[in-house]
Amino acid sequence: MLRHSTNLSRNGLTDWLLQRGSALLLAAYTVFIFVYLLFVKEVTYAHWVALFSDTWVRLFTMLTLFSLVAHAWVGMWTVLTDYVKPLGIRVLLTVFLFLLLFSYFFVAVSAIWGL
């Protein structure tokens, strides 16, 4: 049996479900932000801070950030295992992916909770 220790849940079905669940959350958040930016005529700093100070928006943003990390991990794992055959390069890229996603998460969380 083929095993890849770098997949997210060590189980293909769970990864598959994670990809779908996170996709729904990311889609909902995308629509939310698009609608906000399109229908709030002028986004001022005060509006912007007020939006991300709202507890529900923060909660929604946090859930979306978890989804982003999981979704990108499963997706990039699929792409990397499909196209990058040399193990050394793939491990290197996987480490880079981990650091990138971790820094995204850290920067976004500090931005939201640092208000």
Binding site: R20, W48, S110, G114
Partner: protein, 130 residues
């Protein structure tokens, strides 16, 4: 043991294959996903900076008015739109709808046409304004 697992063709040899529309829709889904891995970094940077202080918010606003930022934003927004529409197709097909050769072709065309229209609208909004 008979190996029934799908094989992956060498990426460099891809232009030598017959490339049906569902394959094009699929490869664009992957390509837009890879673009978004970096695009999200741009958006999170902008989010972080814009929330930091009013001065930095204004700096971000000024930057987004430059052609360079608009081009980057256009790439990110177009990738979001395509990845979103192609992802919806996956979710619909996961429920068993359209799981035929004809269905796959119709859905693939649908994804390309719908995302083209939405990207056209986004292009207008980004470069011309609402």
């Amino acid at each position: 043991m008979k190996d029934n697992r799908p094989t992956n063709i060498d990426l460099a040899s891809i232009s030598g294959y017959y490339f049906p529309i569902p394959a094009l829709a699929s490869i664009l889904h992957r390509a837009s996903g890879i673009a978004l891995l970096f695009g999200m970094g741009f958006l999170i940077w902008a989010l972080s900076k814009s929330l930091h202080s009013e001065q930095q918010f204004n700096e971000v606003a000024l930057f987004f008015a430059t052609p360079l930022a608009k081009i980057i934003l256009w790439i990110v927004v177009s990738s979001v739109i395509y990845h979103f529409v192609a992802g919806l197709k996956h979710l619909v097909m996961d429920t068993g709808i359209g799981e035929t050769l004809v269905g796959a072709r119709i859905f693939a065309w649908g994804v390309l046409i719908l995302s083209f229209i939405l990207i056209a609208v986004a292009t207008y909004i980004i470069f011309v304004g609402v």
